[in-house]
Amino acid sequence: MSVENNMNPNEIWQAILGEMEVLLSKPNFNTWFKNTSLLSVDKNQAVIAVPNEFTASWFRKKYHTKIFEAIKKHCPILKIDYKIISPQVNEQLKTAFEIKLIEPPEKHPDKTPTSHNGLRADFTFDSFVVGGQNRLAYATALAVAQSPGVVHNPLFLYGGVGLGKTHLLHAIGNQIFKNEQKAKIFYISCEDFCNEFIYSIQTNTTESFKKKYRNVDVFLVDDIQFLSRKEGTQQEFFHTFNALHQKNHQIVMTSDRLPREIPHLESRLSSRFGGGMVADIQMPETETRQAILKAKSQARGWDVPNPILEFIAQNIKSNVRELEGALNRLVTQAMITNQEITPEFATNTLEGIIASNSHKNFDPSEIIAKTAQYFNLAVNDILGKSRERKLVRPRQIAMYIMRDELNMPFPKIGDVLGGKDHTTIMHGVKLITNLIKKDEQTQNHITLIKENLYSAN
């Protein structure tokens, strides 16, 4: 092969790609010129490698003259030949084959140790307070950390916000790292995964993206529910998942709901997510909450009297994050004002937080008002007797919220709704209770109305 000027085939092809990219639309360019190259060029002919027969035919029909002219600028050729070279061919094809035993995944001694990739050192199993509501999640996570890829693969942890899912996820990573320094542990939030994937498409680096994720030993993904509605990322995640699972590499995911309840998630994914172990974490009971507070204050070297911890634990019931927040606020406030933490001081300082945590501080009429406002109705529509469907459902939702939030007796709800029979209310509440389980939309309505109620206070 001899080239007339000083450019090698690769440089010539890069120049041509640049030219074609200007002439063609982006989808056209990306579809047809991906995985092409100039194999050789001499006085007679240029040989162009194309990935498949489709591209070969298309080049012959559509771009032949353009490519021919473009190459001629660099080297006077007479003709072009197209050769199909599958981009997949690699070294592994040549290795000898045998059916191998399925054994626990090998540890790779030659791989470079990965640093604590995004893992928080303080999130360990030791610092996790175990109670009745999270014992299962804790035990499975511990089992996974002790023998990754063997027992529960994939492990799926779900529960509400601030209950310790992320803590357990980090703890698994930290524990495995402690046992096996060379294990490649990768922690990522689902959102980062999506963003990185999109970025890799933009920069045409999907190959290295794939490589990066398909070669980890332990894959920890936080908040997997963010895959919802992201079809492209779902597809990529599906392949990553399969590649890892096939090799018995451990996958752990967290989410705020069950796999099958994540909306707009392909069923092949949700069934895979649920294919290993699914464990839930619920709000811990008062005793555990108190133990958590105790552990936190000890870890930070604070000396908070037990009755105060008990007071916080009893009054803050929403989630562990708020629990910690309340403790932090109390201690900081005490330090700033240089006061002792007494029950009175605690009550005063935490008044605001506790009030917003209590469910009993709004009026039934407020619920009716907010529900009406949410559905763009007049309050009288809700209180009225019309059986129009667009009025009946909001009315039932108002009943449900009153029952759920204020725990009002059925006849009382009937009264505030303009004198309705208690059986009507019972029916309405039951109907919505059932509907929530099936209908995402109703669930959303209720969440949003409740949010309005809380934010108004």
Partner: protein
């Protein structure tokens, strides 16, 4: 283009090819169907640049022509249209559809933008009865590898020699081999690997194919001719399939004959108990004692099933992944199946008792005791 055809034929033809269309591809036209008048009928094509599929239906042609229209919209319009006949009138990039009760205009892209579905300049063609082909694919394709670290294993090997076609798939944990006997011997030898994904499409089309399917092979493409104008072209997987014959056990130390239904349901039951231990179940074959299927889970509990069996040879205790066994038991033919075992750590063979044309090899699990 101006043609008229029956709704029924058109709808069937569109259903047949539409699945290959990929509306989310980078290139928008890959989400379209190409409609071309040809030989007194309508040719409909779709491609995803890996598979190209074409079908043909008879139609009354008033004016020749071609264009492409979005697959989804066309398919939805035609399948919900209840009239008997549909008139299609196309300009370069607009398709007007008319029937007794329904009218529609669908915007399209001109035909010259549609990728050319490659012709297979065949070196070699042979013909297979569709029932045998369908059976062979269904009984092997599930054993292909899902991950693409070894591309050759994501496809199914077809090895043609004289009057035998061996169809083989493996993911390196298990291997399935089906032999098809051809009525008349082929002239040449050939070996090629077809992507599993393509074969799933082939199986989907086979029920409407003519009795014999013609397969033509070139160096990097294969063409399935299903008859009556329906054809599918696909790339072949590049690379060489490993020599799998070396792992077929030549001897057997223990042979176990059981009723398929009984052993399958026992393994199914055990798999419920093995959910937490990687589907790990134990098979105990004692001579004269029948077969025992055991699953133990530290969390869930345990399960033991007795299956009556004819056992010849050494007694053995061996562990398998229940899923791999169930995969095979669900597609093996015949009332009885036969396990051939060669000790705890050697590949085991599972095959139908009567037929010699199917072979499933599975690697046992090495248990840490």
């Amino acid at each position: 283009m101006k043609i008229e055809c029956t709704q029924e034929r058109l709808s069937h033809a569109i259903q047949l090819v539409a699945k290959i269309s990929t509306p989310k591809a980078t290139l928008p036209i890959l989400g379209n169907l190409l409609l071309t008048t040809k030989k007194g009928g309508l040719k409909i094509s779709a491609t995803d640049l890996e598979i190209g599929i074409t079908t043909w239906i008879g139609a009354k042609i008033d004016q020749e022509g071609a264009l492409t229209v979005p697959t989804r919209l066309l398919s939805e319009f035609i399948s919900t249209n209840s009239d008997k006949n549909i008139l299609l009138e196309g300009t370069e990039n607009n398709l007007k559809l008319k029937s007794e009760h329904f009218n529609a205009n669908i915007k399209g892209i001109e035909a010259s933008e549609f990728p050319i579905i490659p012709e297979v300049k065949s070196d070699f063609t042979f013909s297979v009865p569709k029932t045998l082909l369908s059976e062979a694919i269904s009984q092997t394709v599930f054993s292909t590898a899902m991950d693409d670290t070894r591309p050759v294993l994501t496809g199914v090997l077809f090895k043609v020699e004289k009057n035998l076609v061996k169809v083989v798939a493996t993911d390196s944990f298990r291997l399935a081999e089906k032999t098809i006997n051809l009525a008349k011997p082929t002239t040449e030898k050939a070996e090629f690997i077809i992507p599993a994904h393509t074969l799933q499409e082939v199986v989907r089309i086979l029920p409407v194919a003519e009795l014999n399917v013609e397969i033509s092979v070139s160096s990097n493409q294969v063409l399935f001719n299903f008859g009556s104008g329906t054809e599918l072209v696909t790339r072949l997987v590049d690379g060489e399939f490993p020599d799998y014959t070396q792992i077929i056990p030549q001897a057997k130390k223990t042979s176990v004959a059981v009723i398929k239904r009984e052993v399958a349901s026992a393994i199914k039951m055990a798999s419920y108990f093995a959910r937490e231990s990687a589907n790990n179940i134990k098979v105990v074959a004692g001579v004269g004692k029948g077969l025992q299927i055991v699953a133990t889970s530290p969390q869930l509990g345990d399960n033991v099933s007795q299956v009556s069996a004819e056992i010849v040879g050494e007694e053995i205790e061996i562990s398998f992944n229940a899923k791999y066994l169930l995969d095979a038991l669900s597609i093996i033919e015949g009332e009885k199946v036969c396990f051939e075992l060669n000790g705890k750590f050697s590949p085991a063979v599972l095959k139908p008792e009567k037929n010699k044309d199917y072979l499933y090899i599975i690697m046992p699990l090495r248990l840490e005791e």
